[in-house]
């Protein structure tokens, strides 16, 4: 089953736990890479805000986005992650039905957050070219949307595969890994909301 | 080497080994050659310095090169000797292994200690230099010259001298000058070659560098950051003249402007 799909030894059976640990480590490294990318984006926001080159971080007369909207989206992601976690715990107890339900609800929540994210972008009171702050907001929102898309794929896969009975109390390492990723993107959204809560530059520009 | 003998005896017996002698002599010979190279070549290539800054640069190059000579000579001496004294002749495989030397604590510690020492030396030398150069550049009565880079021309203006503008840089000798540098478009880099100063010209920012030109003559000003099609041609000249000639030039420029 899923052991041998993951095993690099085409047909040589490997212990499920070994394969699971190996994949968890690999996905951990992928998360490190993604975290580095997120860190780069958040660093860009902070750095440009600190420099306020030519006073154009938020150019005179232009509007800023309401801070609460990012927090609402982040909260939505956190809830979806918690829901999925409930499902992951369920499968570890052998309850496949709980995983199916949790995945379905999680995916729905992702869709809601996704729609919300698009609405947030569409209703930004500035264009991407308005200034560096505006560009950064579009960037972070777009990156969040990208994370959402990937997680949506994973969530759908979890729902479908759980529905087909691919997971059990002894064979569920893939669910654990999806949870790891899901938790990460929720955390990334929280970091993003936190960073973008500080708007006005401390530096006098120009 | 027997571990029970006193260190001095160990070193003496070690030194008496033929291969050690040959390596050490090779090392000394190469050090001499490389030191001669270090003392002559870099400064000759860099040319006569036109400021204390450049003098410091050239002396650093020389000092670092001399220090590096011994290091490079050691690496080469061992490498060269190995090809003569330890080589397994022919293209057939060797007919035995070498001695199972897994390591040598003393050598390793000594090596790391020496390299740390050399690094500290370079660091302290560099920090000292930076200290004295920044002291030079921040003298209060420094003349200010605004430098503007744009694709692909340097423009200089003299705010303290009637805002005279020019595409040639004129400077009075022995007078500290501070350059306020910026760009109108992309990143350029303001480089006065023989004075050893360089600072980027960034759009939206003003960067500063200072120097005391202490030699009369004409020197090269080049752009040191790829800035587009004609980056290779973004150069002009710095003329270091006596104070009176400088004043005369300013007056002439003011008259031309009015």
């Amino acid at each position: 089953m899923s052991t041998t799909t993951a095993a690099p030894t085409a047909g040589h059976h490997e212990d499920v736990d070994t394969v699971g640990r190996r994949w968890r480590l690999g996905v951990g490294f992928i998360i490190v890479a993604d975290a580095s990318f997120v860190a780069a984006m958040l660093f860009s926001y902070r750095y440009l805000r600190g420099l306020n080159t030519e006073g154009a971080w938020v150019p005179h007369g232009s509007a800023t986005a309401p801070v609460w909207s990012s927090w609402v989206l982040a909260a939505g992601l956190v809830i979806s992650a918690v829901v999925f976690r409930w499902g992951e715990k369920g499968i570890r107890d052998g309850d496949s039905g709980r995983l199916v339900l949790a995945s379905a609800v999680g995916v729905l929540l992702l869709l809601v957050v996704g729609v919300g994210q698009v609405v947030q972008i569409a209703s930004f009171p500035f264009a991407i070219a308005t200034g560096a702050y505006a560009s950064s907001m579009y960037l972070l929102a777009g990156a969040n949307l990208f994370h959402l898309g990937l997680t949506l794929f994973l969530g759908l896969a979890m729902w479908n595969r759980a529905r087909l009975g691919r997971y059990s109390a002894t064979e569920n390492w893939q669910v654990g890994i999806v949870w790891l990723w899901w938790a990460w993107i929720a955390l990334a959204a929280v970091f993003s909301a936190l960073t973008t809560s500080f708007i006005a530059s401390p530096a006098v520009g120009g | 080497m027997s571990e029970t003998e006193p260190v001095t005896v160990q070193i003496r017996t070690w030194w008496q080994r033929v291969e050690i002698k040959r390596i050490v002599w090779t090392w000394l010979g190469l050090t001499v050659l490389l030191t001669i190279f270090a003392l002559t070549v870099p400064t000759r290539l860099m040319g006569p310095p036109a400021s204390p800054t450049m003098r410091a640069v050239e002396s650093t190059m020389t000092v670092f090169s001399v220090a590096a000579s011994a290091v490079m000579a050691l690496v080469l001496a061992i490498a060269v000797y190995s090809l003569i004294g330890w080589r397994s002749r022919g293209s057939e495989p060797p007919i035995g292994d070498g001695p199972p030397i897994r390591g040598n604590g003393r050598v390793t510690v000594a090596w790391i200690a020496v390299s740390t020492g050399l690094t500290m030396f370079a660091l302290i030398w560099g920090l000292g230099e930076m200290q004295s150069l920044s002291a030079d550049a921040s003298t209060p009565n420094a003349m200010v010259v605004n430098v503007t880079g744009q694709q692909w021309v340097w423009t200089f203006s003299y705010p303290q001298n009637g805002n005279v503008e020019s595409e040639q840089l004129y400077l009075p000798v022995n007078r500290p000058v501070v350059f306020h540098v910026t760009s109108k478009d992309v990143i350029h880099s303001f480089w006065v070659v023989q004075m050893g100063i360089k600072i980027d010209a960034n759009p939206g920012e003003v960067t500063k560098t200072g120097v005391v030109p202490d030699r009369l003559g004409t020197f090269d000003v080049r752009c040191a950051e790829l800035c587009g099609l004609l980056h290779a041609h973004m150069e002009t000249q710095a003329h270091v003249v006596s104070s009176s000639n400088f004043a005369a030039w300013i007056t002439a420029q003011e008259r031309r402007a009015s």
Binding site: T5, T9, G11, H12, G26, F29, I30, A33, F37, A40, L48, L51, T53, E54, W57, I128, A129, T130, A132, S135, N160, R161, G205 | G47, M54, V57, T60, M61, V71, V75, L76, A79, S82, W86, R87, S88, S91, P94, G96, G98, I101, G103, N104, I112, S115, T119, A122, W125, G126, D185, V186, K198, D200, P203, A224, E225, L226, C227, H231, A232
Partner: protein, 649 residues
């Protein structure tokens, strides 16, 4: 092989039916072209005819090419099958691993690490060929002042493309071919941890190559490989090729890095403790370990550039609150670790083979590990030495001088290890070992010149001059590429089953090394004399130095052609290699040539490290066959055409 289970497991249907069996590089290119055309047509129809239109169309077309290519090679079949609950059977896995496919497995999404290794080797050679040809054009233009061989636009574009191609090629040149083919064998594993991700990493780079080369027709990359903003903002669509290539390459590297690191951490043979793990493995892991956090920073810098160029974002535009310093920081946060990503595996490979060709244990294994770790850790703390003159933070220049100069300490440790290994050894001066000596010469020069540049006042004089260009060529090419060539000569017998022709190998070696030193010594000279870098013409006073450099470059070019010839002809007609021609003690030499699909009949159990020279009884070994004892070349080569096993193409 008879122990393999080929039954579909638990009655679950095979993934994708026969689709995977029909996909290969041709369908990939077809898929890429089709989707690119569709994307281009739709984009052109809808894109506003404003400043950003051409870049939007270009980027969309390139994205469509990449996605279409990956779909056409079958990269999405696995994930989509997984989502649908259709997992691979053992039979599928064997097919993916290239069983019974002969030469065709090299043109497919094949998971066998040995196939991926060979694919990386060919890819690397192609990249070096193109990048090298560009170098010849650059030096020809610089043969005299105002040669008018190339226009300024052509020159700048070629410099940019040469730089990026070479950076990519040097990053993958050791970890690609040898990190893939050799590393799992060396640790006693049957494959990598994630074989399908392995194939994915490779094919992503293949997908990126046409994008990279398309810059030639899109106005070129006028910024040099570092792509500094805001010059990059105003550049023609060739810059979009630049940023797309990097984005794809960064993802490929992150995936490859996760794969290699997980493999080494979790799949070493029983008994292979860290003390018994060969130093080459440390080098490869350190390299990808650096790449995993560093390359996403580079990717971020390019995503921001892409947004500036396609949508008018203001990340790097000063008038909009953006800053070129943001670009520089993001770029160099990657850019400095990246040079150690390039260098460490090459030096580690040389350390590995030096022990073999000195018939001695690696001198002070712990110091070697400490050196590699020390370089890796420090390398993330030095980036702003590239920005001493930028003015971004003059007060930090001293701190970066400190960290940068400190790197010479762990670097010196690696010299100690190599010299200590050579010390009183039985030096067997075959082609692989010659690379070690060349590296010692080139790297000491590269390292010392790096010390000059790390000194802030000296850097004020030398930054942005040809001195810098010469310094990094001495380290990345003189040490790095030389190490990669040594690795190739060393592991060629295991990867191809034949010996690399040493006559042409030696001719190549001397032409390249002498040519190299002539070229770049000349460059140090003109740099000290004040020639900026990336200039298509220069002051008349610098003519001699430039002429000399160009002559040296031609010698390198000819030498590389000899190497290329040696590789091609040896691969096809070379002397058949015994399974351990060098008498090495690492695990990859215990498997026969050609290497079986499963690598090891029985996974090895390790009881000692691989450096027991002089400690274990010496077993005389036959060594490579002598040319006069050569078997007729056609015996063996045709018989293996349809071989079911292993690496022989």
């Amino acid at each position: 092989m008879s122990t393999l289970n080929t039954e579909p497991l638990l009655g679950i249907p095979a993934a994708g039916g026969g689709l995977m069996r029909r996909l290969n590089v041709v369908t990939a290119a077809g898929g890429g072209l089709v989707l690119a055309l569709v994307g281009w047509a739709i984009a052109r129809h809808f894109m506003l005819a404003d400043d950003f239109g051409p870049d939007q169309v270009t980027v969309i077309t390139m994205v469509c090419w990449a996605v279409g290519f990956m779909a056409g090679i079958g990269a999405f079949n696995g994930p989509i099958g997984w989502l649908r609950g259709r997992d691979l059977t053992s039979e599928d896995e064997l097919f993916l691993a290239g069983k019974d496919q002969g030469i065709r497995r090299y043109f497919r999404f094949t998971t066998d690490h040995k196939v991926v290794g060979i694919q990386y080797l060919v890819l690397t050679m192609v990249l070096f060929g193109v990048g090298g040809a560009m170098a010849m054009l650059i030096r020809t233009n610089l043969i005299s002042p105002n040669s008018n061989f190339l226009s300024p636009q052509q020159y700048n574009a070629i410099v940019g493309l040469h730089g990026l191609i070479m950076v990519i090629a040097t990053i993958i040149m050791v970890t690609g071919p040898f990190g893939n083919f050799i590393m799992p064998l060396m640790i006693g594993a049957r494959d990598m941890a994630f074989p399908r991700l392995n194939a994915l990493s490779l094919w992503m780079i293949v997908a990126a190559v046409p994008i990279l080369l398309s810059a030639t027709f899109l106005g070129g990359i006028p910024t040099g490989w570092s792509g500094y903003a805001p010059l990059a903002d105003q550049a023609p669509p060739g810059m979009d090729a630049f940023l797309m290539t990097i984005i794809i390459f960064a993802i490929s590297s992150a995936v490859a890095g996760a794969n290699i690191t997980t493999t080494v951490l979790t799949m070493r043979a029983r008994g292979m403790t860290w003390n018994r793990t060969p130093i080459f493995i440390y080098g490869v892991v350190a390299s990808v370990g650096l790449a995993i956090p560093a390359f996403p920073m580079f990717m971020a810098s390019q995503v921001l550039l892409g947004l500036d160029r396609t949508m008018g974002a203001r990340f790097y535009i000063a008038s909009g609150g953006g800053s070129p310093w943001l670009y520089a920081n993001l770029f160099w946060l990657m850019g400095h670790p990246e040079v150690y990503v390039i260098l460490i595996p090459a030096i580690a490979a040389l350390m590995e083979l030096t022990a073999v060709f000195s018939r001695k244990p690696l001198f002070s294994f712990n110091t070697a590990v400490l050196g590699i770790v020390g370089i890796s850790v420090l390398s993330v703390m030095v980036w702003a030495h590239h920005m001493y003159v930028s003015g971004w933070a003059p007060n930090l220049n001293g701190a970066f001088m400190l960290t940068t100069e400190m790197i010479s300490i762990p670097t010196g440790m690696l010299f100690l290890v190599i010299l200590g290994t050579i010390w009183r050894g039985r030096i067997w001066t075959r082609l692989p070992m010659m690379s070690t000596y060349a590296m010692l010469w080139n790297f000491i020069i590269g390292g010392i010149t790096g010390l000059y540049l790390s000194d802030v006042p000296v850097d004020y004089a030398l930054h942005g001059s040809m001195f810098v260009t010469a310094h990094f060529h001495y380290t990345l090419m003189g040490a790095g590429l030389t190490g990669a060539i040594g690795a190739l000569a060393y592991w060629f017998p295991k990867m191809t089953g034949r010996m690399l022709d040493e006559r042409f190998g030696f001719i190549s070696f001397w032409l390249v090394q002498i040519g190299f030193n002539v070229t770049f010594m000349g460059m140090f000279a003109v740099g000290l004399a004040g020639q900026p870098r990336r200039v298509y013409t220069y002051d008349n006073l610098l003519a001699t130095g430039n002429f000399v450099s160009t002559m040296g470059a031609y010698a390198i070019g000819i030498g590389m052609l000899f190497l290329l010839y040696a590789v091609f002809s040896s691969w096809r007609h070379g002397e058949l290699a015994p399974s351990n021609p060098w008498g090495s003690k690492t695990l990859e030499w215990t498997v026969p040539n050609p290497v079986p699909l499963e690598n090891f009949e029985v996974l090895p159990v390790v009881t000692s490290d691989a450096y027991g020279y002089g400690e274990e009884p010496f077993e005389p070994f036959e060594g490579p066959p002598r040319p006069d004892k050569l078997e007729p070349a056609h015996v063996g080569s045709s018989a293996d055409e349809d071989s079911t096993e292993g690496a022989r193409p």
